[in-house]
């Protein structure tokens, strides 16, 4: 179970990333944020976001047009 959940369904680029960044601020270091999105571009974008920011992408899965990401707040 993630420490926080962000519902980004229906939002398009770059809103899922912007909202995730905002939500991560309230997640303590070492904590996790789950993001649920419907933007297919968010799969590559959350990988890139984590690569650049140093946060850890623990999980990325897709189920019938819904994408779920689990990010560990490390930086």
């Amino acid at each position: 179970m993630a420490d926080a959940v962000l519902d980004a369904k229906g939002l398009n680029c770059p809103l899922p990333i912007l909202k995730a960044k905002k939500a991560l601020k309230d997640v303590p270091a070492g904590g996790t944020l789950e993001i649920v999105a419907t933007d297919p571009g968010s799969v590559a974008d959350f990988e890139a976001f984590c690569r650049t920011t140093g946060n850890e992408l623990l999980d990325s899965k897709s189920d019938g047009g819904v994408y779920t990401f689990l990010i560990k707040h490390t930086s």
């Binding site: 229906g10 939002l11 398009n12 680029c13 770059p14 809103l15 990333i17 912007l18 995730a20 960044k21 933007d39 976001f49 650049t52 920011t53 140093g54 930086s75």
Partner: protein
């Protein structure tokens, strides 16, 4: 403002102020800021309109050969002879704003607010203010004033420099 001490940085020269062209600089600026970059945006010529408190963004299909609006399962391209008629710009703007809402794309107002919140440095070009007779009080709070040298100084220290 940044997540890292050795933060990367990006600068963008914003030269266009129509509804459609307002997107690339604000999307890239806010996303870079969210990814921990220090971002500066230099608003010059028509781009300066994007700093006005009162945004009245419009767009035009005129001379925009690649503008294909999705319509009834297909795409509509408007011939220039039609695009020049009165009211077409207003109609295209309404259509675009409806599409933006329907597809969950952020409004420019929303993205600009995100830019302010993420402490993006927004610089208004002094020469453009003079040229088009804008007043600083017409622009949003928090903007700075600068010229070409201000931008070059920022650009020499930035990892990414874009002209949009």
């Amino acid at each position: 403002m940044s997540d890292k001490n050795n933060a990367k940085s990006m600068s963008i020269i914003v030269t266009k102020g129509s509804l459609d062209w307002a997107y690339p600089p604000f999307i890239l600026g806010t996303t870079a800021a969210a990814m921990g970059l220090e971002v500066s945006m230099f608003f010059t010529f028509y781009g300066l309109a994007l700093l006005k408190k009162d945004l009245k963004l419009q767009m035009t299909p005129l001379g925009n050969a690649a503008m294909e609006m999705p319509m009834m399962g297909g795409h509509m391209v408007m011939p220039n002879a039609m695009a020049m008629l009165p009211g077409v710009d207003a109609a295209a703007t309404v259509m675009m704003k409806n599409l933006i809402k329907k597809k969950g794309v952020a409004s420019i107002e929303e993205l600009r607010e995100a830019a302010v919140d993420s402490e993006i440095k927004m610089i208004a070009c002094q020469m453009t203010l003079d040229l088009f007779e804008y007043k600083r009080e017409d622009l949003i709070e928090g903007h700075e004033i600068g010229g070409a040298a201000t931008y070059i100084d920022i650009a020499t220290k930035s990892d990414i420099n874009l002209f949009i």
